[in-house]
C-alpha cells in the first residue's frame, strides 16, 4: 500500500465522518426540546454510520464508478466512498426536488445511476439486486463488479443465504461485505448469530471468506483488493466480514440503554486511530490533517447549502414517477 492510497483512505473517512456530523446537527436542530421524529427539515428514521468508515473506504477504494454498489439502511459512508454526488445525495436526504430521487426516496432509498449505487431499508434485501447487476456485467463480458453490503444482523436473513449460493453457483462478480458492528438495533451479535465469524459461512457456498478484525482500514483495503481482483478476473464471489463499530445509536433518538460499552466507545474511534498511525508513519502531519478536515467541512457544508436551497417537491407531483 502506498502512502497516497492511505492518505486517500483517510480523506474518505474524514469526509464521511464530517458528513455524518453535519447530518447529526441538521437532524436534531429542529427536533428540540422534545425529540419528535417527524419534525424538522429531516423527518423519519436516521441511521448514521460514524465508526464504520473503514469498511466503506477500504472496499470502495477498489471500485470504479461503473461498478455497482448496494448498501443498507445505513448507507451514507458507502455512498460517499463510492463517489455518489454529495449535493444530490444531501438534497435527497432533505427531501428536495434537486435530490437523487427528487425527494421521493430519502436517506434509506438513495439511487444513483451514475455510480450504479443503490440501497434499501429492508435488511439483506439489497443483496439480490446486486446479483443481477453482476449478472448483467458478466453477460456483457465486462470486468465490472458489484459490491453488496449488509450488517451482521442481516446475515441471518434468508436473502443472505440465497444470494451467496446463487452468486457462487453462477460465478458472479460480487463481493459481499458484512459490516459487523456488534449490534442489530438492541440485539447483540451473540443473540443473533450462531457462529463467531460469518467468514465460516463462506465455506457453505464454496467461496473464499475472510474476517477482518479491529476496524482496520488497511486490512480492509488489502482483503477487498483481493476480492475485487478475483471478481474482475471472473473467479467469482468472496465474502468479507469486517468487525467495525457503531459509534452512535442505531438511529437518532436511540437511547442505547441496552448498551454496556458506551463509555469505551470514544477510545475505539477508528479515525483518530488511523490519523495517529499515519502521522507516526510520517504520511500525515497535524497540519495536513487539519486541512483535510477543513476541506471536508467545506465540501459538506456546500452540500447542505445546496440541499437547503433546493425547492421542496410540489404536492401536486406526488403521483409522478409511479410508472415510466
Amino acid at each position: 500500500m502506498d502512502d497516497k492510497t492511505r492518505l486517500d483512505l483517510y480523506r474518505v473517512m474524514v469526509l464521511s465522518r464530517t458528513y455524518e456530523e453535519a447530518l447529526l446537527r441538521e437532524y436534531h436542530a429542529d427536533k428540540k426540546p422534545a425529540f419528535d421524529i417527524g419534525a424538522g427539515l429531516l423527518p423519519g428514521e436516521m441511521h448514521l454510520s460514524a465508526g464504520q468508515e473503514p469498511v466503506a473506504a477500504g472496499v470502495c477504494a477498489h471500485l470504479r464508478p461503473d461498478d455497482a454498489v448496494t448498501a443498507t439502511h445505513r448507507p451514507h459512508h458507502i455512498a460517499i466512498a463510492h463517489g455518489v454526488d454529495l449535493d444530490k445525495m444531501t438534497a435527497e436526504i432533505f427531501g428536495r426536488q434537486g435530490g437523487l430521487g427528487h425527494g421521493r426516496g430519502g436517506h434509506m432509498h438513495l439511487f444513483d445511476p451514475a455510480t450504479h449505487f443503490s440501497c434499501s431499508g429492508i435488511v439483506a434485501e439489497g443483496l439480490p439486486p446486486a446479483l443481477g447487476q453482476a449478472f448483467a456485467f458478466q453477460q456483457a463480458g465486462s470486468d465490472r463488479v458489484a459490491a453488496a453490503f449488509t450488517g451482521e444482523g442481516a446475515a441471518n436473513q434468508g436473502a443472505f443465504h440465497e444470494s451467496l449460493n446463487l452468486a457462487a453457483l453462477w460465478g458472479l462478480p460480487v463481493v459481499f461485505i458484512i459490516e459487523d458492528n456488534d449490534w442489530a438495533i438492541s440485539v447483540p451479535r451473540s443473540a443473533s448469530t450462531a457462529v463467531a465469524s460469518n467468514a465460516d459461512r463462506a465455506a457453505g457456498y464454496g467461496m473464499p471468506g475472510q474476517r477482518i478484525e479491529d476496524n482496520d482500514v488497511d486490512a480492509v483495503y488489502a482483503a477487498a483488493g483481493d476480492a475485487v481482483t478475483r471478481a474482475r478476473a471472473g473467479d467469482g464471489p468472496t465474502l468479507l466480514e469486517i468487525h467495525t463499530l457503531r459509534l452512535w445509536g442505531h438511529f437518532e433518538g436511540d437511547p442505547q440503554a441496552y448498551r454496556p460499552d458506551l463509555a469505551e466507545l470514544a477510545g475505539r474511534d477508528p479515525i483518530p486511530a488511523y490519523q495517529a498511525r499515519l502521522q507516526k508513519a510520517g504520511i500525515l502531519t497535524a497540519e495536513l490533517a487539519a486541512t483535510i478536515k477543513d476541506e471536508a467541512s467545506a465540501r459538506v457544508e456546500k452540500a447542505v447549502e445546496f440541499a437547503k436551497s433546493s425547492p421542496a417537491p410540489e404536492p401536486e407531483t406526488a403521483r409522478d414517477y409511479l410508472f415510466a
Binding site: 422534545a34 425529540f35 419528535d36 421524529i37 417527524g38 419534525a39 429531516l42 423527518p43 423519519g44 428514521e45 427531501g95 428536495r96 430521487g101 425527494g103 421521493r104 426516496g105 430519502g106 434509506m108 432509498h109 434499501s120 431499508g121 429492508i122 435488511v123 439483506a124 434485501e125 444482523g153 442481516a154 441471518n156 436473513q157 434468508g158 436473502a159 442489530a184 438495533i185 438492541s186 440485539v187 443473540a191 443473533s192 448469530t193 438511529f251 433518538g253 436511540d254 437511547p255 440503554a257 441496552y258 421542496a312 417537491p313 410540489e314 404536492p315 401536486e316 407531483t317 406526488a318 403521483r319 409511479l322
Partner: protein, 349 residues
C-alpha cells in the same frame, strides 16, 4: 426513541389514562400472568421494549425465557411461533413493521392462516402476529405502509386494527385468547409515543380489568345523521377531529364508524349507519384500490345500492408508494384536509 414509554398521565377524576402502547403492554402482561403458555417473540422486544413500545416492561417482569429477542429472521421466528402454537403455547410474535411482511409472508398466509383449515380443524394455531403500520413521520416507502388490505384479503387469519388505548388492550386480550391466528395491526400514530407528534387521542381511559373487546364488532365512534364515515386506526382520530370541527363550523353531523376488526368485518354496523345517513365516505390509510375501501363500498353495492343518496367517496392513498418528502407524504395520506374535502364532495353530490 425511548426504551419504555413513560407517558402515563396521572389519573383524572379517578379514571386511569394510558397511552395505547402502555395499554397494549398491560394487556399482554395481564395475559402472561394469567396464562403461562403466553410468550413474546420478536426483534428488540426485550430490553428495548419494542421499537413502538408495545412490549415495554415485559422483559423485566417475565424474563428472557418468555420475552425473547430474535435474530432478524422473520421467516424462522414467525414459523417458530406457529409450531409453538400447534403444540399448545400462545405466542405473540412481533413483526417490527408490517412493511416487512414480504420476507415472511409464506409462513404467515400459507402456514399460520391455513393449517387449521387444511387439518380439517384438528390442529389449532392460536397466536398473535403483532405489527406496526402507517406513516406520517417521514419514513418513506418501505416503513410507512398500512397494508391491512393485504392481510384481510387472505383467508384464515383474523385482522384487528385498534384506534385507541382501551380497544387496544381489550383487542389484545381477545387476540391472545382466540383459538385462531390474529393479526394485530397498530398504527404507530395511535401509540402515544413520546418521540412522535403529540396525539391527544392516543391517550385515554383504560380499564384495569382484563376485559375483552370482542373481535369482529365495529364501534360507532361518533353518532351523526348527515353522512357516514367508515374508517379505522389512526384515520379514526382524523375523522373525529374533522367531525367535531364540521359540526361546530358548518353544522354538519357526521357519524364515524371505527371498524376495529377487518376480519371478521362488521358489515351490519356499516349498513345500519348508511341506511340512516344515505351517504358514505371511506377513509383508509392503505392503498386505495383492491383493498379495504373497495370492500366497504362493495358491501353497500351488493346489499342495497338504493340506500346511497350520493356516490360513495373514498379518501385513501392514491395507489402510489408513500413518498419521503413531507409535502408529498402529506399529499398522499388521508389527513384532515383530504377528509374534509371528501365530506364536501359527498354532501354536494
Amino acid at each position: 426513541m425511548s426504551v419504555t414509554d413513560s407517558a402515563t398521565a396521572p389519573p383524572r377524576g379517578g379514571v386511569r389514562r394510558l397511552t395505547t402502547a402502555r395499554a397494549v403492554a398491560e394487556g399482554i402482561a395481564q395475559e402472561m400472568e394469567r396464562d403461562p403458555r403466553v410468550f413474546v417473540l420478536g426483534e428488540d422486544i426485550g430490553a428495548y421494549g419494542g421499537i413502538f413500545g408495545a412490549t415495554g416492561g415485559l422483559l423485566e417482569k417475565f424474563g428472557p425465557g418468555r420475552v425473547r429477542d430474535t435474530p432478524i429472521s422473520e421467516t424462522a421466528f414467525i414459523g417458530l411461533g406457529i409450531g409453538a402454537a400447534v403444540e399448545g403455547m400462545r405466542p405473540i410474535v412481533e413483526l417490527m413493521f408490517a412493511d416487512f411482511f414480504g420476507v415472511a409472508m409464506d409462513q404467515i398466509y400459507n402456514h399460520m392462516a391455513k393449517i387449521h383449515y387444511e387439518s380439517g380443524g384438528n390442529v389449532r394455531v392460536p397466536m398473535v402476529l403483532m405489527t406496526a403500520t402507517g406513516g406520517g413521520y417521514g419514513d418513506a416507502e418501505q416503513h410507512s405502509q398500512c397494508l391491512w388490505g393485504t392481510f384481510a384479503h387472505l383467508p384464515g387469519m383474523k385482522v384487528v386494527v385498534p384506534s385507541n388505548p382501551a380497544d387496544a388492550k381489550g383487542l389484545m386480550i381477545s387476540a391472545i385468547r382466540d383459538e385462531n391466528p390474529v393479526v394485530y395491526m397498530f398504527h404507530k400514530g395511535v401509540m402515544g409515543l413520546p418521540w412522535m407528534a403529540k396525539n391527544p387521542r392516543a391517550i385515554g381511559p383504560v380499564p384495569q380489568s382484563g376485559d375483552e373487546v370482542p373481535i369482529g364488532r365495529a364501534a360507532v365512534a361518533r353518532e351523526g345523521t348527515d353522512a357516514t364515515v367508515v374508517t379505522l386506526s389512526l384515520s379514526v382520530h382524523h375523522a373525529l377531529d374533522v367531525a367535531e370541527q364540521m359540526a361546530e363550523a358548518d353544522g354538519i353531523s357526521l357519524e364515524v364508524i371505527d371498524l376495529r376488526s377487518l376480519v371478521p368485518l362488521d358489515r351490519q354496523t356499516i349498513m345500519s349507519s348508511v341506511a340512516k345517513t344515505g351517504r358514505l365516505l371511506i377513509v383508509d390509510e392503505d392503498y386505495q384500490s383492491f383493498g379495504v375501501s373497495g370492500e366497504v363500498a362493495a358491501t353497500v353495492a351488493e346489499t342495497d345500492p338504493g340506500m346511497l343518496r350520493a356516490p360513495v367517496v373514498r379518501v385513501a392513498v392514491p395507489d402510489v408508494p408513500i413518498p419521503y418528502a413531507r409535502p408529498l407524504e402529506r399529499a398522499v395520506l388521508p389527513g384532515p384536509d383530504r377528509i374534509r374535502d371528501g365530506v364536501h364532495r359527498l354532501l354536494k353530490a
